[in-house]
Symmetry: D3
Subunit: 253 residues, 6 copies
């Protein structure tokens, strides 16, 4: 029995509040249990210097935690004057994941800035950020469609992320909270599309190792969780949900 | 008539959600109109090195804005690697203001960290931060009382802050929103106790100047606004409200 | 009786040595008692990127102290690699204050860089910086008039600054030296024009508070001190002094 | 046919020069084709502050590339004043991987610093770093055994790493060089022990996605490559190779 | 004929104002022509961590220029957040030079901080800094003798520095001003004791080279200039001058 | 007798491996005894902003040591976030020295980046860097000649560098290794052309001083060592060696 009474393959209660902040082109508050992340998407009508003139867009992400998102207060990265390796890893992951389901040519020479700010943390903040960021990005892109800047939503598939892990006593677990994550031998983050394809797979055995068979069990759990999360995304996006399709890909027919 | 229909001496709708984040010892979401700030207070059981052994406590504050708290996305200070002068000014102001109503000797060798994170900005973020931070601090100190670490709440008076300004057409205004602030000739922040005493007064005539008489008009407005805000603080603090008193001061009798 | 024998409303001996450093367009060594600041003004024939094409000028200030300007040696900000909050606050204040008495349109697309370097500190360094910087700026602007780049000095009024404070025993004091400042309950900096209008007002009760009546006493003292300082500025500026007038304002008739 | 004539499941020529640099406790130059990395291991007789008193050791890694290790000159991170996210990711990965095969309790309160400096890059620098760092670490730990500071080599298994990827035309490939890596749709790094267990698995579909079946093909290739690399490690370590065993684990019997 | 009418072997007018700033233990304003440097010496009653317990003292120097010490305004290093290579080179040179004439054992576990702040620059700022710093240091050490902390001045010889250079037309020159320095083919800084021994010798042919014979001519000039400067130091130090002697060296008899 | 059995005027075994790294336009591994430096030269087809439009080229150098190039591990400058003064001094020296033997006009608007990375240090790393960098630079410039971008090699003379020093017991020494350098009273670096002219001369008596006569002895030793090193450079450069000549200078006839 898990610490919060869930089944091993049960995700935490999910909530997605769209248009949470008024200024961004896309904004979502995502809660997965006690993990709460504000995901804002900003449209900028240009791309970074290294991409200019290629006719393609760019998606980049930043991630941060409020100092008391965590049980112990964490020192602000702005106060330290530099980002931690953990933050850099996470924001690179979020950007890479989102780029895999957007047709950057169709997006045109625009940058989408994704800001994921964790206001309360209880495990799985990077996966919640990806799942929420997808919705914020879809809202922002839809605003471009609505005002006629884009003819079609350039999103080719849904995308969500979840953590899975291996507990010495309980075995494989889906959607670990902080206490479970701290105790797990193996920690894996899975980012997947609705077509069941992997976009990113990161498994780590800190001071441990895992077998091929354990990997397979974890991937099965992850896939199940992601399909549930994509249902939540569809509900949050309402009528926009119908415009996300692999036919949005350049050259698809 | 003001842009949002308010009277010149009318503050915006105020909301204070206590215990907003679960981890901090004190937590409040304060909304003043569309300005929303998460204020968290953390108790640390030691003081900075320069104060050790003096038997006194310390209160320090940090302030930040989410990148899309504003209409245009602001670059993260963590990404730039340094704090702006504006941020430093504000966090020094918050800390100084709160220290003026706490008996630091009674607090003992502890630090209270105040984190004010603006999630949505529409003018007056520094004054909202002070007003909200006071409540978060009171909740955190009360937690020390409740668990017996302090015998009495070491807060000697209420403290709130508000902006006032001078508009070329409308004259003096209370609690300026962003549009009003951008257009004002004179911008003043008043920090005051319930006894009507000034803790901090900062008036600026950017590319302008103001007379002694205008100053007096603005101070009258500010005092009125602050007394209203203190009423909101009392309601938010509920029964704790009764324990804030000048008799909490060391040596008071 | 004050520590150095002055009356409560008496400023320290003032000295302003113009053309102190040979390279800058305007240069003044200002001494207020033992506080000594080198104020240099530099003309740059362009404005920062965010202002280009607006036909307006800009004034910006930097402030620093030599490590042994103070009783204890202070670590260089260049060695630490970042400015302290105090420095940032002061240099923002100096720039804002000077901009309030210059017609930036008449200045044209130029930047005036003000450098205030405290070589010896004994309280009131920020107010001495403003008072001295005004003279250095006037000299630099006059050099533009003299070489025909400007037809008229674009300065609309005199500007000076002074500190006032409240001592528990002595009551209100004008122009506090370091020892007085360290012991004061209330510390206020007043920046004012010769017309008696406020450009900036910053009052702080560190771990204390002050009443409306105390505020008024302090403002009276401040106004008196500032008018004296402006007399010193006029003497330092000699014949240039006559060209500073509110009729220099764009659109004035 | 691959660009350099290899079979799809063929790794590049491997070379490991032990004792390459004379000062470090362990030193290896590893070459995998044209990728060359100097891996040095340093023993420090203490642990970081957060671990003191726990009776456990620590292993940490740093990674860097010479500016002209790459085809285009890369700006030095020391000149920029900060590490890139890519560097941080890699050095965290190397440290984490090595810690998984060392019994940190048996190591005692010591830190092993691993420095991986790429002098020539042609793809797979992070995996070559891990494979080489394992050997440098073993040499350094063996020096502790030789001088009597440790009674047994606290390494519980071999560890090596390799990249696998999916090319649109050629399908799955083992040990990608730079040109192959740049063209791959899917890029995966596998870190594995001689027991065939995963220590780390990082698969990325940049602007693409991969199926479960493709994942399995890639993992098969990776396992094969790693077992070959471990043979090379055994040859490089000579008689030390026999002292690496899972029986080195605390509590193993 | 030199640009300012001097002979080739003539130094500029020298002025040394002792006790220029009131707070430091030793303070000198040195002027060599239009080059003016404030040299302050601070005594700290401890040494840096790497020297503790060795019973020896340390001397370290910092160097800076006011932004408008130069003809064009120079950006502050504090604003840039880092020291330039030129500054680092100079402050290392000043410290090293001074340490060569102080018996660090006799100094005891104390640090002397030397601050050289150039307020006006016209060539030769690093050599003027050394010459002035020597006097400031002697005053600071004498204050330790006067209050009984040291029994004898631990200075073993005088020390001064000067620049020499080779002009294409005028040949060898002593004590170059800025215009001469900018035009010189060879630039050399000589640091020497009153005994005529070299402490530091730095000759540079930027985009040029110099012969052994030219070197000798330059060294002759330098020696002559340094002996003159040492006369000025003796006058500035008054009666302290008699206490500087090689017999102050540990073990001298 | 020297610690490694050499004569006082004997340099260490010299090795220069050209084309050591495959990507750079010029690459050399230089070994002087146990000191080993990888010197890479990169051609960039533009100059820094401050030189654009002048029709001249630029040469700049960077220097670094692997953390375990030294006996004790040195912290990475990239990890500290800033360069040490020592590194800055050395890289400025290398660049300045190389520029003195290149006709920058003939080079045209190009930058040559020199990277000197010390992989193993045993004294004399800066002089070995200069000697090796000269060869790498010549190879890179020759590549421009070979592909027709330059009609002639714009190098006007050979350039090499060596250290000399004064040992209390052994007297003057040529090419000091680390142990000798640590014990020397006087340390001097000489950079010279094949014509026997000085390009740079840096002599330091750390906590000591040296006479004119000692200087002359050291310069004689240095000249001898440099001529030997230039022979090694000629052998390493093979047929390119013949194209280095003072007649390559603009305007030479």
């Amino acid at each position: 029995m898990r610490i919060d009474g869930r089944e091993r393959n049960e995700i935490r209660p999910v909530e997605m509040v769209t248009n949470y902040i008024k200024h961004p082109e896309g904004s979502v508050l995502i809660a997965m249990g006690d993990t709460k992340v504000i995901c804002n998407a900003t449209i900028e009508e240009r791309v970074p210097p290294f991409m200019r003139g290629e006719g393609k867009g760019w998606i980049t992400a930043e991630y941060s935690m409020l100092p008391r998102a965590t049980q112990q207060r964490t020192i602000r990265e702005a106060a330290k004057g530099k980002l931690t390796g953990r933050t850099m890893e996470i924001q690179r992951l979020i950007g890479r994941a989102l780029r895999s389901v957007v047709d950057l040519k169709k997006l045109g020479e625009r940058t989408i800035w994704i800001d994921c700010d964790v206001i309360q943390a209880d495990g799985g903040t990077r996966t919640a950020s990806i799942t929420g960021a997808f919705v914020a990005m879809a809202l922002a892109l839809d605003s471009l469609v609505k005002k006629g800047s884009l003819s079609v939503l350039p999103i080719t598939d849904y995308l969500a992320a979840i953590s899975v892990g291996m507990d010495e006593e309980l075995g494989s677990l889906l959607d670990l909270n902080y206490a479970e994550d701290a105790g797990a031998n193996v920690d894996m983050n899975v980012v997947m599309t609705s077509a069941g394809n992997f976009v990113e797979l990161q498994g780590t055995g800190e001071e441990a190792a895992f077998t091929r068979s354990e990997l397979n069990t974890l991937l099965d759990l992850g896939e199940q969780g992601i399909l549930e999360l994509i249902q939540h995304q569809k509900q949050a996006l309402k009528e926009i949900a119908f415009n996300i399709s692999s036919s949005n890909k350049e050259g698809a027919s």
